[in-house]
């Protein structure tokens, strides 16, 4: 399986569940989904990466692009990730300072709610 995407609403925030590998081949699908969600008025997003097995700089670019899009609407894009193998590329690129990265979806939602 290359990449599986799903999304659902929880507490007014849209949760994007990603499973599989995000690379140069599969990243465009995630990009399209994030664009669609923003175009449909979903500006508070949480991308759950707990089942992501691989993420490269193409995937990072898609997430950065998604963050820029939601911020244009005063929105947010947070991540859920505890896997060291995935967190590593965020650390190497310094993107841990750009994204809110949480251990669970509930924690990400709570963090976003507490900022309001």
């Amino acid at each position: 399986m290359d990449l599986k995407l799903d999304h659902h609403s929880k507490d007014g925030i849209e949760i994007v569940d990603v499973e599989g590998e995000i690379d140069v081949y599969t990243a465009p699908r995630l990009r399209e989904l994030l664009i669609d969600l923003v175009n449909n008025g979903f500006y508070q997003l949480v991308v759950n990466m707990e089942k992501v097995e691989f993420l490269d700089s193409t995937g990072l670019g898609v997430l950065v692009g998604g963050l820029k899009r939601v911020r244009a609407h005063d929105g947010s894009l947070d991540l859920v990730c505890t896997q060291e193998r995935i967190l590593k590329i965020f650390r190497i690129t310094g993107l841990t300072k750009v994204f809110g990265i949480h251990e669970t979806v509930d924690e990400a939602i709570a963090a976003r709610k507490s900022e309001k």
Binding site: V24, Y25, F54, D56, T58, L60, V62, K88
Partner: protein, 132 residues
């Protein structure tokens, strides 16, 4: 002579193939399990870059990957034959060279050679096996 050579059509779908082959040969070469994710990621980045260059400038030319067992090292060389060099219009949202910056953070030893014939990215990791 490389231990394993791989040549593939410059399609994004084949970058995963290159990652899997590189990881398999790295494991066989004695690269520590804890470094295989780095090998996979670095090779993926180099191949993604080469595929993008070929797609834009020479889509019928294959991207080449050479995997070599050396004494105490496992070396990967990714070669593209795109003569355009640098970033391209309509490219990714992040600055050109981002993938190379990621590679530099993952491999001990990265050498990039740019010639009129294309670009070669060579990187290596420590391995436990002595080359035969």
């Amino acid at each position: 002579m490389a231990t394993v050579e791989l040549s593939f059509t410059p399609l994004p779908a084949h970058v995963r193939t290159a990652r899997l082959v590189a990881a398999a040969v790295a494991r066989r070469s004695g690269v520590d399990e804890s470094l295989l994710d780095e090998v996979r990621l670095a090779v993926g980045e180099a191949c993604s870059r080469a595929v993008e260059e070929h797609r834009l400038h020479c889509p019928t030319e294959p991207v080449r990957l050479a995997l070599t067992e050396l004494a105490g090292r496992f070396e990967v060389e990714v070669t593209d034959t795109s003569m355009a060099g640098g970033g391209a219009e309509g490219g990714p949202a992040y600055p050109p060279g981002f993938g190379i910056a990621v590679i530099a953070g993952l491999a001990d030893d990265v050498q990039i050679s740019e010639t009129s014939a294309g670009t070669s990215i060579r990187m290596s990791w420590p391995s436990a096996v002595t080359a035969s």
